[in-house]
């Protein structure tokens, strides 16, 4: 079974700083997908960014980018120019490429952006 590890239960940075959230995963598969989801205090889970394992290029969405290291099984999320609205729980998630199975989530990182 796949596992996803987020080693930082909580992080706090000042507004406008850059922050990196770490995620490692364990799998024997070659084809899979990785995701970062954000859950603000409203509880609504929102997709931040996704990465297909077969793509070498790191995904980027505006201020959000990932550092995908397939050999190291690492998938970190970088948030540039952090904003107060970035305060949320962030979950890293893994999906097997084989079918319609559900996501395997890490335990989450609570990110706090200080004014």
């Amino acid at each position: 079974a796949q596992t996803v590890t987020q080693s930082q239960p909580e992080m706090s940075v000042q507004e406008a700083e850059t922050v990196t959230l770490s995620c490692t995963y364990d799998t024997s598969e070659n084809n899979y997908y990785l995701f970062w989801y954000k859950q603000p205090p409203s509880r609504q889970m929102i997709l931040v960014i996704r990465q297909e394992a077969y793509k070498q290029q790191n995904a980027t969405e505006n201020r959000f980018s990932v550092n995908f290291q397939k050999a190291a099984k690492s998938f970190s999320l970088k948030i540039s120019d952090s904003q107060l609205g970035d305060t949320a729980m962030y979950f890293c998630a893994y999906l097997s490429g084989g079918g319609a199975d559900g996501l395997t989530f890490g335990k989450g990182t609570h990110l706090i952006i200080q004014p």
Binding site: A1, R43, R50, F91, K107
Partner: protein
């Protein structure tokens, strides 16, 4: 916009009651999912459904069952609620392609007394 709705934001039930959590999506998604979210544990998959009438066990199916009679609706059933089922329950849906985003509902915070 895709919308996934859940029948209740908050629910309080008593031990031994039968509990129904309803989830409806409006985008004709084939796949639907039920997750449980607990502090320090992240989200864990309870059950999922590939399509109508189909269901598969996730990682923690014990004490739960599901029903998918219509494509847009996926119900989670607690046959006899217990206090250790107090949790946040999140429903999600997705088009068949696994690379597609899972869209989540707002969650139901269930308390079993």
């Amino acid at each position: 916009d895709v919308k996934v709705t859940q029948s209740s934001r908050y629910l309080v039930k008593r031990t031994g009651e039968k509990v129904f959590l309803e989830c409806v999506q409006d985008m004709d998604h084939e796949n639907m999912f039920w997750y449980r979210q607990d502090p320090g544990l992240g989200l864990r998959l309870i059950y999922f459904s590939y399509d109508v009438k189909m269901k598969e066990k996730g990682d923690i199916p014990e004490g739960y069952s599901v029903s998918r009679e219509k494509k847009e609706r996926f119900s989670l059933i607690l046959e006899s609620a217990s206090t250790n089922q107090t949790s946040m329950y999140l429903c999600a849906s997705r088009f068949r392609n696994p690379s597609n985003e899972q869209f989540f509902g707002p969650g139901t915070r269930l308390t079993v007394l």
